[in-house]
Amino acid sequence: MKEIEIIPEREGQVQRKGNVSAPMACNKKSAAGSVSQRACVFCGSRVVLYPISDALHVVHGPIGCAAYTWDIRGSLSSGQQLHRNSFSTDLREMDVIYGGEKKLLLALRQLIARYKPKAAFIYSTCIVGVIGDDVEAVCRTMTAEAGIPVIPVHSEGFKGTKKDGYRAACEAVATLLGTGSTEDVKPHSVNILGDFNLAGETWIIKKYYERMGIQVVTCITGDAKIEDIRRAHGAKLNLVQCSGSMTHLAKMMEEKYGIPFKRVSYFGIEDMSAALYDTAKFFSNDPTIMQRAQDLVREEVGNIYPQLQAYREELQGKKAAIYVGGSFKAFSLVRALRLIGMQTAVVGSQTGGPDDYKQLAEICDEGTIIVDDSNPLELAKFVLEKDVDLFIGGVKERPIAYKLGVAFCDHNHERKEPLAGFVGMLNFAKEVYSSVMSPVWNFVPRRQPGRAHTGMPSAQEKSVSLEEKTP
């Protein structure tokens, strides 16, 4: 096979630890003609706001953008399930020519009357950005008419990257802050920012804090109700997970309401414990909180440790490639893998910043490939070069791994098993183990040199190997 090349424009976005001259050239638009694993601004906004379950999410544009984001995430809700629908203005040719405002307005009237949501988010897609619909004005009108917040989300796909979508989502959420009562908010209280309650993960984390005696006011946006968001400004501390998506909101809240924030991660024992301890330290005026945090960690780790050890013995020395959306998650994964004896040979993200990549390089082993905004060809090249045993990524990376006969762990928004918290670490180990140790890899070409295409040996090959064995 001919060597897979790295597009020249992308050379600054691939590094090898131990051989790095300049900082990572990230935060770039993807090169034209590459098959990026990234989505668009709209995608960024949509994933962040998606879990708000009692709001109407209306995608203003042609049908695709809405259809592809229908019920695609595993974000659970304890109440309404409105978010699991896909509402679209489904613009047609005439709307594109004469403007889509009228259709949007009508759609909102009908949908609000039917579903009685607590708020509505209106996402602008690419086309809306060029036909110049005044979405703001429609939203203002509908807010007045329907008596609920109707919030425009400026998420035209081409106006930046997924990160800009996160930002637009934060700004949409910010319009709700400060509008609810904070009466019952306790002095030891936090908001969880950037957890989306995939497979119920928010609930797991929330319980930990409650066991420590800390009130969780709101999670933005995992299992969030509009009412909760309205009073989030009452909390004393913001805990920001998934740094890429929510730092902007945390900063806004710091500025406006004086709420400090901490970056945390809930993946892996080390990061999970650190998150709890950091929070306890913040509320140091009540030493019992730290005491309870320590008890909790001891108990939880004690519960899972023996099983983790067993996995570790089996997985020791195996190599992994990581390619995820946010770089902060990548840190946690490198550490979590190390905990189960595995080494990270390739690590990358869609949206990391220069500092993130520097930090990544610090925690990785020599020779690790670090990459920003990669594509299928590159990822395949790295996987083969490093001969990894496991790939951690999302649904778009899965077929690359499988096609090459490499084990895979889904660490993206579609996962159906909780991977956060202590119990999540165990689930993670279990999932890695059950993929890496599967006997099916015995049959894939990669592990059967000389049998490039078919797993079964041909008749001729068989007779040869028999002869070889006869002394």
Partner: protein, 495 residues
């Protein structure tokens, strides 16, 4: 072609001027006025202005899928990045294969000044990375709306970059506000023959244009064509490229697909066979070949069920001068035998059928053949020919069953769900997106078509031919038996 392409980049929609900023245009109707004039829909009667849980996908998805069925082709979406990523993700979740679709990655500048430089860079990067034989371009809503003139872009590009051995390029216009994924699919196939077919002395070749079917269906069609001893062009053919073996090394472009040469030869074939009653008479690839190269086009329904498969095999018989091979006569015989064995279990059962229009027409005809009553035939497609297609697919003695049938084009899953509550079907048949409706009604869902996102092997489901009918029949009967078994306390182990 695009009615918008006469406009230059970013002409204002209200005043049609090129230098106007649409958001501040004075000719624009103020939103306050729109509020006054838009009818108030306070009642919950019908949601007319919004699509809720669409029963269709966007046009470029169909085009990309079709292009993936051409050997050595790489699809390139001219527009912004999100579309290609979403479409890939959606296709990958069904096929479980790598599906590379490139994008020219529009920025704000490209949206204002046009994407010409993005396009050129994209082609260069694709050539370097993938070494394709064909670069298959589809224009998304965005590039269509700003009126990108692809003919001119191709021209400009070639003028600067043409060289011996340069990959071919083909373009299909796929604005999603015109049509659905099925239109994108058919238009892409048409674009392929328009660009690549050449005339030549008439051959025995048959062009088979099957439309959007599964990889198992494509395999089966190839087997049938070979058994009739016919040289053929099956276009597109993603049976291998989207259902292949595990690789030893990464293949930039998966093997398989209709060879470019075979597409060229469609112009000299003796006959084109095109599946799909709803596309009959429209501007399809088959029509084009007929008009341009005088290759007669025979339009048939998807060969689902006995009647439609008979018609297909008869057509092949005529084209090949052979009788239907014994293998298929036996398959038909065994199918009929099994219909007899199971007829009581399915007779009078009520079904809701949904999906692409031609698939619905085919399934509906098959259900009528076995005594099931399709109470609702629904599609997100808006060709306006669904009813006609269903009628055509029905042999005269079965037309009676059409009387009680509701046929609805242009609907979404919310509407199908509302109808389902009223119609109380015994089962649903269609893609996996109807699962929630089936779950709510507590009835079985027979998965078929596209997409199947909640089961493995969705692309390997066979629908076509007697064999496909056999598989569908067994599955329907067994699902009904299981529902009966599960719904009873007695614990029958003998049904």
């Amino acid at each position: 072609m695009s009615t918008l392409s006469s406009q230059t980049v970013s002409a204002c929609a209200s005043c049609n001027s090129f230098d106007c900023d649409p958001s501040t245009c004075s000719a624009r109707q103020p939103v306050e006025e729109i509020v006054e004039t838009a009818p108030f829909a306070a009642s919950t009667e019908g949601i007319t202005a919004a699509t809720r849980n669409a029963c269709k996908l966007c046009t470029p998805l169909g085009a990309c899928l079709a292009f993936r069925g051409v050997e050595g082709a790489i699809p390139l979406l001219h527009g912004s990045q999100g579309c290609s990523t979403y479409i890939r993700r959606y296709l990958i979740s069904h096929f479980r294969e790598p599906i590379d679709i490139a994008s020219s990655n529009f920025t704000e500048d490209s949206a204002v000044f046009g994407g010409s430089s993005n396009f050129k860079t994209a082609v260069k990067n694709l050539r370097r990375q993938y070494e394709p034989e064909l670069i298959a371009v589809a224009t998304t809503c965005l590039s269509e709306t700003i009126g990108e003139d692809m003919k001119r872009l191709f021209h400009e590009y070639y003028a600067e970059n043409w060289e011996e051995g340069h990959p071919h390029m083909v373009h299909v216009s796929t604005a999603s506000y015109r049509g659905t994924h099925i239109d994108g699919f058919h238009n892409a196939v048409r674009a392929l023959v328009e660009t690549l077919a050449v005339s030549g002395p008439r051959t025995r070749r048959v062009n088979l244009l099957p439309g959007m079917v599964s990889t198992a269906d494509l395999q089966h069609l190839k087997e049938i064509l070979a058994d009739f001893g016919l040289p053929y062009t099956l276009l597109p053919d993603y049976s291998e490229s989207l259902d292949g073996e595990t690789w030893a090394e990464y293949e930039k472009l998966p093997s398989g697909g209709t060879p470019m040469k075979a597409i060229a030869e469609t112009g000299s074939a003796q006959l084109s066979i095109e599946f799909g009653h709803t596309i009959a008479g429209t501007k399809t690839a088959g029509q084009f070949l007929e008009e341009k190269f005088c290759v007669p086009c025979r339009s048939l329904g998807l060969p689902i069920g006995i009647g439609e498969t008979d018609a297909f095999l008869e057509t092949l018989g005529t084209a090949s001068g052979r009788t239907v091979p014994a293998k298929y006569r036996q398959e038909r015989g065994r199918l009929v035998d099994s219909l007899v064995d199971g007829h009581k279990y399915v007779f009078g059962k009520r079904a809701i059928v949904y999906g692409e229009e031609d698939l619905v027409a085919g399934l509906c005809a098959f259900l009528c053949e076995i005594g099931v009553e399709p109470v609702l035939c629904a599609s997100g497609g808006e060709s306006g020919r669904l009813e006609e297609a269903i009628k055509t697919a029905h042999p005269a003695p079965l037309r009676k069953s059409m009387a009680k049938m509701e046929i609805r084009g242009g609907v979404d899953f919310a509407e199908i769900g509302e109808d389902a509550e009223r119609l109380k079907p015994d089962f649903l048949i269609g893609n996996s997106k109807g699962y929630k409706i089936a779950k709510k009604l507590n009835v079985p869902l027979i998965r078929c078509g596209f997409p199947i996102h909640d089961r493995i092997g969705g692309h390997r489901l066979l629908h076509l031919g007697y064999r496909g009918a056999q598989r569908l029949y067994d599955e329907i009967v067994n699902a009904l038996l299981e529902a009966k078994q599960e719904g009873s306390e007695i614990g029958y182990s003998y049904l």
